[in-house]
Symmetry: C2
Subunit: 417 residues, 2 copies
Amino acid sequence: MTCIVMKFGGTSVADIGCIHNVARHIKREVDDGHDVAVVVSAMAGTTDQLISWAREAGAMQGAREYDTVIASGEQITAGLLSIALQNMGVNTRSWLGWQIPILTDSAHGTARIKNIDGTSLIKGFKQRQVAVIAGFQGLTSDERLTTLGRGGSDTSAIAIAAAIKADRCDIYTDVDGVYTTDPRIEPKARRLSKIAFEEMLEMASLGAKVLQVRSVELAMLHKVRTFVRSSFAVPNAAGMKDSINSPGTLICDEEEIVEQQVVTGIAFAKDEAQISLRRLADKPGISAAIFGPLAEENINVDMIVQNISEHGAKTDMTFTVPSIDHNKAVKILEKNRKEIKYDALQSESGLAKVSVIGIGMRSHAGVAATAFRALAEKGINIRAITTSEIKISILIDSVYTELAVRTLHSLYCLDKN
Amino acid sequence: MTCIVMKFGGTSVADIGCIHNVARHIKREVDDGHDVAVVVSAMAGTTDQLISWAREAGAMQGAREYDTVIASGEQITAGLLSIALQNMGVNTRSWLGWQIPILTDSAHGTARIKNIDGTSLIKGFKQRQVAVIAGFQGLTSDERLTTLGRGGSDTSAIAIAAAIKADRCDIYTDVDGVYTTDPRIEPKARRLSKIAFEEMLEMASLGAKVLQVRSVELAMLHKVRTFVRSSFAVPNAAGMKDSINSPGTLICDEEEIVEQQVVTGIAFAKDEAQISLRRLADKPGISAAIFGPLAEENINVDMIVQNISEHGAKTDMTFTVPSIDHNKAVKILEKNRKEIKYDALQSESGLAKVSVIGIGMRSHAGVAATAFRALAEKGINIRAITTSEIKISILIDSVYTELAVRTLHSLYCLDKN
C-alpha cells in the first residue's frame, strides 16, 4: 500500500467544475488502493476577495485578524471538496489546520510550521478515509490561526507528507512539470522527468516559479519525493492509469536519478542591479558593516564578489540586489559611508543573472569555461561570476538574457530533438 | 461597569461600509465604559454563496462538511470587524466558536448549544479588550464545526450573554423593535418599548419574525434582558447617547414592566390547514395514535380541539397543520385509519390563525368574549378557538386575516394616536 499526498492549488479548484475534476483525480488514486491525504488552496479569486475586504476594513491590519479572515478560503475548499468526494462514494473528512493540528510559530502571515501530529490522519487511513486538508494555515501555541504566506499550501503538503511518511507528494498545478528552462523564452525547453532536490532548490532560488524555495528546502530536508504535475490532464485517460508515469517531474534524491546529466537546467532572473564599493579598507568586520544595514531593511543581497584592489590593502566589493531595492540600497550605503569607509560607490540596474545548474558539474571539469567561451562568441559581456558545487551564475546586461539562455540551453544539449 | 453583548445580523454587516457603521456602534459603547462582547453573522450574501457552492459540489451533503463550509462566513465577518475596530483604536480580538469554545451537540446544521465557557472572554474584559465573536457556530465534543441553524446568531448572542452574565443583550437588526402587530398589515401598529419574555415567546411562536422561538426561550430561561434595535440608526446622534433609551424594544421580566397593558400584541399566521376526524372512539391512547405518526414525519400540529360528538361514546378531533404539510398529513391519517378508527376525515386549507397576546389577560376576565363579539360584528366566522393563560388564538378564513388583525388591534387600544 502506497501513501500519497495530493496538493491542488487555487487555479485547480477555481470553481465547482474544477473541484469535481480534482475529486476525479483523487478517486483514481483511492481506487488504485492508495492511502490519500489531499491538501487544497483557496479557490482562485476567493483569497483576492478576502484580502480586498480586509484592506477596505482598515489600513492598519492586525496580522492575527488578517489571518483569521484569509484562512477561511482554504476552509471553504476543504469542505466543498469533501462534499464532492462523498457524492462520488469516497469516504472522506475535511481537516482544518487547527484540527490536526498543524502547529506554527506566531509570525502571522508568514508563519513557519513547527510540528504536525499525523496520528489522526493515519488513524483515518486505517478506516480507508481520505483526509482533505485545508492548506496554507496553522495554529499558534496560544490557539490563534496563522497563514504560511506565499507558496504556503505547497509547504503544508510537503510537511504533511513528511509527518505521515508518505511515499510521494503530488503537487498538481497549472504546469505539467519542471522544464530545462522557461519555455516562454526557449520553446525548445524540455520537461525533466526527474530532478534532484539540490538542483530544484537552485532552480527555485533562481526564478523557476513552479515551487517556492521553502517548499523545496522542506522536501529536501525530509527527503519527500515530490511530483509536480498538471491538474488539467484528464484523469483515467489512457496512459494515466499508472499515475506516476503520467507527465510530470519528480523531485527526488539524486541517487534515484540513474542517468544524471551534467547540466539539468538554465535559470535566470531579470531585474537585477549591481552595486560596487571601491577601495574599501580590507579589514575584519567590513562585510558586516555593509550587509548588516541592508539585511535589516530586508534587502536580499546576492552574487557577492570581492577583489583585491589595485592599491595594496584596499579591496573592491561588488554585489547584486533586486532592481526594486536598488535606490533604497544605495541610500542606505550612502548613509553608512562613514562606518563602511569606501572611496566610491558605483551602481547600475538593468542587469540579469543567468545560471547553469546541474549536480553532474561536481564531477565534470570545464563546464564554466565552456559557458564563458560560448557567451563570448555571441558578444555577451560577463560582469560577474559566482559558482557553487552545482551551479554557475553569470551577471550580464538584461538585454542579452534571452540570447544567453538559448545559447547555454543549446550548448549543454538541453534542447528537445 | 455594565457588561453588554451586541449582536449584528447579516444585513447589518452586508458590506465593508456596514461593518464600519457597526464598528462605530461598538466604539460608542466602549467609550461609555462598558465591557463589550460582539456577536456577528455572515455578511448578507456570503452564506447564500456558500450554500450554493455546497449544493453544486454535491446533492448529498455530509452535514459535517456542509457546516465546515458555512461556518467560514461568520469567521470572515469576525476578522473584518476586528480589523475595522483596531483601526479605530479599539482593543479587540476575534473569537471563533471553537476558540471560546461554544460546545454544541452533534446535530449538524441545527446544533444546540450545550455549554459556553466565558472565562477567556471575561479575562479579555479585564484587559479592556472587546470580544468579536463569530455567531451561528460551535464545536462538537469530537472537535468538528457545527452551525446552529435559523436564527443561530441570535441564539449565540443570548447564550453568550448568559455565560458571561451580561447586563443586556442588544440584538441589532433591520427593524427597530417589536411592534404590536405587523406594520405592513396595520400601519397604526406601535413599537413596544418593553415586552415580557412570555409574551415575546408567544409573538415569536405565532409568526413575529424579529426573533426565533429558541432565542426567546433561551433568554427567558436565563433571564437575559434582550434589546431589539435597529443597526441603521446613526450612532452618536442626539438622543442616542444613553443607548438604552434609543428606539427599540426591551424583552425582559414582566416585573420590569411597570404599566402592563391587558393586551400587548396581535400575531397571525396565514397558510394554516384544518383537519377534522369525525366520530372517533373516545378511549385512552387515541391522541397518541393520531399525533404520533404526524410527529414522526415532523409535521407541526397546532390548535387541537376535541369535542364530544353527538353520538355518546364517540368524539370529534380537530387540529391545524401548516398548509404546506396538509396533503402529507391527510395521507398519513388515511394510511393509519385502521389503527385510529375514525368514521370520516374532513380537511380544508386557506385558513389563518390570529392571536391576541398579553400577560395582563391573566388578571382580566372577558378579553376573549370582547374579541369574539368584535369579530362577529364584522361578519368573521370563527372556526376554532384555543386559549392559554396569556393568549387567545382564533382560526378563521384566510381572506379575513387583515380585517381581523385590524379589528382586534383597534379593539384593545393598540393603535398609535
